[in-house]
């Protein structure tokens, strides 16, 4: 019965999605890398070779504009400012890069009217932990044990970020990449990399690769790649700290949706959305993902492994990271006031017995960040067709076969009766 209920709900959501797209007008999307940059840190890089990067993806609609400010300054963050359609952003780069928090505060300003429910997603830290018990979640090592030698925090702020570029084939995209070089007989060869890739689209569709997350004009697709990193422990796994910053007065909360249907992402029956306004998601911002990451670039079912996000926090003990993010550059001290509510989690990549990160030395995870109701997977026409053909046909055959047999038996009985009758008749006659 439960299944029928879920299927029904899916149908309703299909209708909702359709009606939603029917009424909403399209968005015009443009991307500027390092807008208004007038400092050398974003054109020639810092002295140590790292670059200061901002990508400004603007999605202009008829009722509002979504400004995605994506940056690796401080810590990798995605700031989504919702404002009136004609609004624009100003970036004061000198203040943005200042070591002084007061100067950083307000270095990104909005020209135009701010609308409700701007939000930000901040990737606070990359944690590498020695999963001695093969638990595949950071929760058992990270908390309460400050002296533990079983984990190391890799500070995103100390990584040597390359200059931001667009991804091949999509001008509305941004790749933030950190390449680690290996000195091989005096020639520097790229050995490992960590990258955040963002793709925005003005239509609705799905990733061409697994997990086939749905993108639309109201969200931006994120891929986080940890490729060939050198591990510190024998049983290393990685976990990324994420903080969701919401301005809706609701506490951002992670909702798990179960589905019977795994047609888009084979083997995955769950989806998580982390809305800044759980009570009415269509008005809030969200981070949405499936609990799966892949350990090979071919991203097939067999290379899939779990993403555990059970290690929830309120996000505030990571205040020092938030203060370094572009979210602080926009919100300023409001970030730590009652106007803003945060929550946090650690995304731990891997599953018990999967051989740890070193088995494949590769992890890629996808998610979407956007405004409005997080897309839900609906059962496709194909699946409904297959189910009705695969199960309906045999049922029809059995049904008609059964009726045929019963009718035939009945007729035979009738014949028998007739024959008996005629037999007795002839006997009498003889």
């Amino acid at each position: 019965m439960a299944s029928a209920c879920i299927v029904k709900m899916k149908f309703v959501s299909v209708l909702l999605v359709f009606s939603y797209f029917a009424t909403a007008n399209g968005r015009k999307i443009t991307t500027v890398l390092n807008p208004d940059c007038d400092v050398p840190e974003c054109t020639a890089g810092y002295k140590n070779g790292s670059y200061a990067n901002i990508a400004h993806i603007k999605a202009v609609g008829s009722e509002d504009t979504l400004h995605y400010v994506i940056s690796t300054i401080g810590v990798p963050s995605v700031l989504v400012i919702r404002s009136d359609p004609t609004s624009s952003l100003n970036f004061n780069w000198t203040n943005l890069l200042s070591d002084n928090a007061t100067e950083r505060s307000g270095s990104i300003t909005l020209n135009g009217k701010a609308l409700k429910n701007s939000f930000a997603v901040v990737f606070t830290e990359l944690i590498e932990y020695n999963d001695v018990d093969d638990k595949a979640t950071i929760a058992s090592y990270f908390h309460g044990d400050t002296k533990s030698t079983n984990y190391t925090i890799h500070d995103f702020g100390e990584m040597m970020w390359s200059q931001v570029v667009t991804a091949p084939g999509n001008k509305n995209s941004a790749v933030f990449n950190y390449t680690i070089f290996k000195n091989d007989s005096n020639v520097e060869k790229p050995e490992a990399s960590l990258s955040f890739t963002f793709n925005a689209y003005d239509n609705t569709g799905r990733q061409s690769v697994l997990p086939k997350m749905e993108y639309n004009m109201n969200n931006t697709l994120l891929d986080l790649l940890l490729n060939n990193l050198t591990v510190l422990y024998e049983k290393s796994r990685f976990s990324v700290g994420v903080v969701m910053i919401g301005t809706s007065q609701d506490k951002p909360d992670i909702t798990e949706t179960r589905s019977l249907d795994d047609e888009y992402t084979p083997g995955v029956f769950k989806m998580f959305d982390w809305s800044t306004k759980p009570s009415s998601k269509e008005d809030g911002g969200y981070l949405e993902w499936k609990p799966i990451c892949y350990t090979s670039s071919s991203r097939n079912r067999l290379s899939g492994t779990y993403v555990n996000s059970d290690d929830r926090t309120d996000g505030m003990h990571q205040k020092h990271y938030l203060e370094r993010s572009v979210a602080y550059s926009y919100f300023g001290d409001k970030l730590f006031s009652t106007e803003v509510v945060t929550s946090g989690t650690n995304m731990s990549f891997g599953l018990t017995q999967d051989g740890f990160y070193v088995k494949k030395n590769y992890t890629v995870w996808s998610a979407t960040i956007g405004h409005g109701a997080p897309p839900q997977d609906a059962i496709s026409i194909l699946v409904i067709g297959v189910i009705s053909a695969g199960l309906g046909l045999p049922v029809v055959i059995i049904l008609f076969g059964g009726i045929f047999v019963i009718v035939k038996k009945h007729m035979a009985k009738k014949d028998q009766v007739m024959r008996n009758f005629s037999n007795s008749y002839s006997q009498i006659n003889s």
């Binding site: 439960a2 299944s3 179960r258 019977l260 249907d261 795994d262 047609e263 888009y264 992402t265 084979p266 083997g267 995955v268 029956f269 769950k270 799966i292 097939n300 079912r301 899939g304 779990y306 599953l351 018990t352 017995q353 999967d354 194909l382 699946v383 297959v386 189910i387 695969g390 199960l391 046909l393 045999p394 049922v395 055959i397 059995i398 076969g401 059964g402 047999v405």
Partner: protein
């Protein structure tokens, strides 16, 4: 048909036959007298161990997967090759194996020859490992495969020969359970053996020696084949079992004259098996991801079908012997499996329930289905019939495993489950048809056991 007639021939037979062999010493005792039940059961034990070696060695690669990949320095697909070199040739070969049992070897010689193939194949496989040569190992698996599946056909034929009209369903159940025991013992024993040898030898040499231990099991089964041949020959002599007359030549074209009921049984067999085993092959990820099980737990749920069938199939076989009505049992098995797959596909109910019931359903089906063949096919063509059934089943499993992998990779587990449900529906339709066709021909297959006993002449179309 009175009970008079039922007793009469037996009495006549014993009393009137002047040439009745005198069984002396042990030969006349309960245990050694082929006319007595106890002797049959003792032979049954040997019969069960006949294919123990082949089931033990079949899963040697799986039991040593990690070490094998490391020691031989091979990749996953080369490793999987050890299974495809076994299974693909058997899509055809066991049909000929069964035919040769009928036409040329007879079941005794057949069993010995196929046991020899199994042993030689395993020796080649182990030798290949000793020389770190995957090609020789593939060849070994191929030779092993020629023997393995045909040996199973010989075992079925033996079972019918000794137990038809008696405890046949239970015997089939017991053989099924023994095949599981063989691979379970292998799974638990091979690793310790490997570790023990590892104290003296390293790498692929160690692997090779461990595999020679497997060959030892095959030699044990070979001895079983030899002693079975002895007992069977003796029983033929004592019981004066009908020897095949030379004018009853068996041709391969006789297959065309196999009754429709046989083909329906084959369809049920393939359509049912493909809905169970390829699913078990893909089950791990399904239980981990859909039900949030840990890999260890997922593995136990996944192996439930095997474990339960090992315990339950002799019991169900016994019940089916008592009750008769094989088609009814087959339909029950298919319907319960349908229900289990539907529950797995369309609900989040704990899969322990569905998988346990599926294990029971599989046991019911397997013990009720295979013996039916002996009721519809002449006894001198049984080898061919079982060979065909096994071949069709192998073909189905090989192809459907591939297709199932493709489906789950492109469309996911829900569609995969629907695919399996469709196969089960096909099995159900075939079973209902079997019932109708059989009913129109007198309803031999679905007699209750009492009716069967009252109709001894119809038993086994000799």
């Amino acid at each position: 048909m009175g009970s008079e007639e039922e007793k009469k021939p037996l009495l006549d037979h014993v009393q009137d036959d002047d040439e009745e062999e005198e069984l002396s010493d042990c030969g006349g005792s309960l245990a050694c007298n082929p006319r007595r039940g106890l002797h049959r059961y003792l032979v049954l034990i040997i019969m069960c161990f006949l294919s123990f070696g082949s089931y033990f060695c079949y899963d040697n690669p799986a039991a040593l997967q990690d070490t094998m990949i490391k020691d031989l320095n091979i990749n996953e697909s080369t490793f999987m090759g050890f299974y495809s070199w076994y299974s693909w040739p058997n899509v055809i070969l066991c049909f000929f194996g069964g035919f040769l049992i009928d036409k040329l070897f007879g079941v005794r010689l057949g069993a010995i020859i196929f046991s020899l193939f199994v042993t030689v194949g395993q020796v080649i496989f182990a030798t290949g490992a000793m020389f770190n040569s995957p090609i020789i190992m593939d060849a070994g698996r191929f030779v092993f495969g020629i023997g393995g599946e045909s040996l199973a056909v010989a075992q079925n034929t033996y079972a019918v020969k000794w137990f038809q009209g008696r405890e046949l369903n239970m015997v089939f159940g017991l053989q099924l359970s023994f095949s599981r025991v063989g691979s379970t013992v292998n799974m638990n024993v091979m690793h310790p053996i490997y570790k023990a040898i590892n104290a003296a030898l390293d790498g692929y040499k160690c692997l090779g020696v461990a595999l020679y231990v497997g060959a030892g099991m095959c030699i044990f089964s070979l001895f079983c084949a030899l002693s079975l041949a002895y007992f069977d020959k003796r029983a033929d002599r004592v019981l004066k079992r009908k020897v095949l007359s030379s004018d009853e030549k068996i041709r391969i074209t006789d297959v065309k004259e196999f009754p429709l009921t046989f083909w329906l049984i084959s369809v049920i067999c393939v359509a049912y098996y493909v809905a169970v085993f390829p699913f078990v092959g893909l089950g791990l990820v399904f239980f981990e991801m859909k039900f949030g099980f840990t890999p260890t737990l997922a593995n136990s749920v996944n192996s439930l079908v095997y474990i339960i069938s090992a315990g339950a199939s002799p019991l169900f076989g016994f019940l089916i012997d008592k009750s008769g009505k094989n088609i009814f049992w087959v339909i029950t098995g298919i319907l319960s499996t349908l229900g289990c797959h539907a529950v797995l596909a369309f609900t989040f109910i704990n899969p322990f329930v569905a998988m346990s019931i599926m294990g029971l359903a599989y046991s019911i089906l397997a013990s009720a289905l295979w013996p039916m063949v002996s009721l519809v096919v002449k006894s001198n063509q049984l080898g061919t019939a079982y060979g065909i059934m096994q071949a069709i089943q192998n073909l189905g499993l090989a192809v459907i495993s591939l297709v199932a992998g493709i489906i789950v990779d492109s469309k996911g587990y829900l569609i995969l489950e629907v695919f399996f449900l469709a196969w089960l529906c096909l099995a159900l339709i075939a079973a209902v048809l079997l019932y109708l066709v059989d009913a129109s021909r007198g309803g031999l297959l679905n007699l209750s056991s009492r009716q069967r006993h009252n109709k001894p002449d119809d038993l086994g179309v000799n």
